[in-house]
């Protein structure tokens, strides 16, 4: 009898836990559903009385209007190119940098590291003019390269990964070195495999930031052929008149969906990499 009661208690606990989780999930998903629902309604139907979460009238042409208003297909491809290269280049730069800052001894290391991460303190707006100037001198205005280049040496990423690398015991590196491993081999076989969660986490953050970045791409690009999704969406946010909410939400869906689908399909990988308990033994 006692055992049964305990079991029931445990089950109730589970149920309660799930109820709370579902409630939180609901809070997270309602805005998305609302946006979706707004995006498929005619604009006059959205602003009647009531919440209007469930559409009674449909207008899927909103999506066509969006596609006609700006070349969203091109924007999507550009965004994917820019984000992919930003993340790849970032990882190529910051992982070795983090390794050097964490594990190598060289003159001025700490000062250099301090300068390196000091860039975290500068908001983009503060360095937009010098960055613009550099891009102009390099002849890179209105290119996708210009949207990638300023972000490659990420102070934030270097800091994050360096802290992780510092945790990895010196003895592991020593034994790899005894086996004849060079720096790159150590990185590849010791440091990176043991730091997967943090690297994945940084990549995710970086993908989301650069997917949604608006200000810098707006400043540095000129023609639709190189511009990104966020700029396209900006066309529907209006300062002087009310926004055209149905179109705005259709545009929002266009921006959110690719990323959402990407996350859903790779969910397992992300969660796994974040769950791995770094089972390090000396």
């Amino acid at each position: 009898m006692k055992i049964k009661l305990a079991k029931i208690k445990e089950k109730m606990g589970h149920l309660l836990g799930h109820a709370i989780l579902m409630f939180i999930a609901l809070i997270a998903i309602v805005p998305l559903i609302w946006a979706l629902s707004t995006s498929i309604q005619p604009s006059h139907a959205v602003f009647g009385q009531g919440i209007g979460l469930i559409p009674t009238e449909f207008r899927f042409e909103n999506y066509l209007d969006i596609l006609n208003a700006a070349p969203f297909g091109t924007y999507l491809i550009n965004t994917i190119i820019v984000v992919t290269f930003t993340v790849i280049m970032q990882l190529l730069v910051i992982i070795p940098a983090a390794y050097a800052f964490a594990k190598l001894e060289f003159f001025g290391r700490d000062v250099l590291f301090f300068i390196f991460i000091a860039q975290m303190l500068l908001p983009l707006q503060a360095i937009v003019v010098p960055n613009y100037d550099v891009m102009r001198v390099l002849g890179l205005i209105n290119t996708r390269t210009a949207m990638v280049l300023p972000f490659i040496a990420s102070g934030y990423g270097t800091f994050l990964i360096r802290q992780q690398f510092k945790q990895i015991p010196e003895s592991l590196i020593e034994s790899a070195r005894i086996d004849g491993a060079g720096h790159f081999t150590i990185l590849k076989h010791v440091m990176i495999p043991l730091s997967k969660p943090i690297i994945t986490a940084f990549s995710l953050i970086s993908i989301v930031i650069h997917w949604n970045d608006y200000f810098w791409p707006l400043i540095i690009t000129e023609t639709p052929s190189v511009r990104t999704l966020a700029i396209g969406l900006g066309m529907f946010v209006q300062q002087e008149s009310g926004a055209d909410w149905t179109l705005l939400m259709a545009g929002t869906m266009f921006i959110v969906m690719p990323l959402l689908i990407f996350f859903i399909f790779n969910q397992r990988i992300f969660i796994e990499s974040l769950m791995i308990k770094s089972g390090m033994k000396e």
Binding site: A69, Y132, T145, E240, S241, G242, A243
Partner: protein, 431 residues
């Protein structure tokens, strides 16, 4: 080790290939970069692109590259970045209050010479109120393009619904309030707490612009034309601020939490309020979304009718070749000719910048079908330049913050205006 380096290099090479971008235009052509903001709803970026295409087709020696640059603030930042970074645009449409700032940066050229070269009086057809902001130190620096004023919107169905009560209060349910006093009287009747409906909304965000209209209606002014002196503690301005405070906190006919500028047409169309101050630019979205008859009227007067104009003007930039400046002038002439001014007004909801555009059939018919379109134009008779000074964005930020506090009741009107006077005068003195 080697493998790693080879891998890195190949990635670099690959990225270089991917990023190679197309370069346009032939050599004997003048290539113009044209930055423009989009301020009102609708696919206006593609409308601008179409107009530019037409220009490019009819002017074989000039190629204009339209560059959508976000909203007004984004566009100004983009222009400033370009100017400071040694790569100014050739032409830009910039918010009218920024003229002083661009002048101080020595970024633009006056257009007076171009204007004088034209036959007849080139500026004559343009509405005077629209030219004023670009007329500084005896020169014309800008040509108006996308221009608006605030107007007064009201829900005719609500007026009809409350007709008996309005009549009982001695008010005509067939028209909009004509004076500040009437505004209060109408709003008190129309505010319906059971239906959760406010009599009136004065939105935030650009409330500095609406407030300037109230100052003009009271024969006052916020900042002088030269951008050197602020008048927030003048009786006329103080009274306007007190009136705003009272609307929300004495008569309680306006929401006590400030509604956003972009959200307020939605509030109005969604019948959360019966009357609204907003830009003419909000007319198309309101007509599209409202399920009731929309009325548009002059903003109520106190001592006089009054409005401050708004919107964006063409500027031509300084550190570009002379040929580009001449070509830019051609482009501006094209964009503001009567036919284009008319069709731009129809597509965008902006007021056409010149009187003769209203004789062009497409706009004449449009105004006939939607008489509301004529209200902003007619109100221009009482319209004045918008306040403008160096550091305008900063001034605007201070003023909107302070006005928000007045509307939310966090600050008494007089304290708020003293505060505005001190802080804004300090900015004016600095330049």
């Amino acid at each position: 080790m080697k493998k790693g380096i080879v891998f890195c290099l190949s990635i670099l090479l690959l990225s270089a290939l991917v990023f190679l971008s197309p370069v346009g235009a032939q050599e004997d052509q003048v290539l113009l970069n044209f930055y423009y903001p989009v301020g009102v709803a609708g696919p206006l970026a593609s409308v601008v692109d179409e107009m530019v295409n037409e220009f490019n087709e009819t002017h074989p020696n000039i190629t204009v590259q339209p560059v959508y640059s976000g909203d007004y603030d984004d566009t100004m930042q983009r222009v400033q970045t370009g100017v400071m970074g040694g790569n100014p645009p050739d032409i830009a449409v910039v918010e009218i209050s920024e003229a002083h700032s661009l002048l101080q940066m020595n970024a633009t050229i006056p257009l007076t010479e171009f204007i004088e070269q034209e036959e007849g009086d080139f500026l004559e057809p343009f509405f005077d109120a629209f030219l004023a902001n670009g007329n500084l130190y005896g020169e014309q620096w800008t040509i108006p393009f996308q221009r608006s004023t605030p107007v007064f919107y009201y829900n005719k169905d609500h007026f009809a619904e409350k007709a008996d009560e309005l009549l009982a209060a001695g008010l005509d349910p067939e028209r909009a309030p004509d004076t500040w006093d009437e505004l209060v009287a109408y709003a008190e009747v129309l505010t319906d707490r059971e239906a959760n409906r406010w009599g009136l909304i004065i939105p935030g965000g650009w409330n500095d612009w609406i407030f300037e209209a109230f100052a003009y209606q009271n024969n006052g002014q916020l900042i002088n034309r030269e951008g050197t002196e602020a008048y927030f503690t003048d009786e006329a301005v103080l009274e306007a601020a007190q009136f705003w405070y009272d609307l929300a906190h004495k008569y309680e006919v306006m929401p006590k939490e400030v509604r956003t500028w972009a959200g307020s047409p939605t509030d109005f169309a969604g019948e959360a309020a019966s009357m609204l101050y907003n830009s003419t630019g909000a007319l198309p979205p309101i007509l599209n979304t409202a399920n009731f008859e929309v009325g548009v009227a002059f903003m109520p007067q106190n001592k006089t009718y009054g409005a401050a104009v708004g919107g964006g003007d063409f500027h031509v930039f300084k550190d570009i070749p002379e040929a580009n400046q001449a070509a830019a002038w051609e482009f501006i002439k094209f964009m503001t000719n009567p036919e284009n001014a008319a069709s731009w007004s129809v597509e965008s909801g902006y007021v056409a910048v010149r009187e003769d555009a209203y004789e062009v059939p497409v706009l004449a018919e449009h105004v006939e079908n939607q008489p509301a379109r004529a209200v902003a134009r007619d109100q221009l008779e009482y319209a004045y330049p918008k306040m403008s000074a160096v550091g305008y964005q900063q001034i605007r930020q201070i003023l909107t913050d302070i006005l928000d506090e007045v509307m939310e009741g966090d600050m008494e009107a007089e304290t708020a205006m003293n505060d505005a006077q001190n802080r804004i005068q300090a900015i004016l003195d600095r330049h």
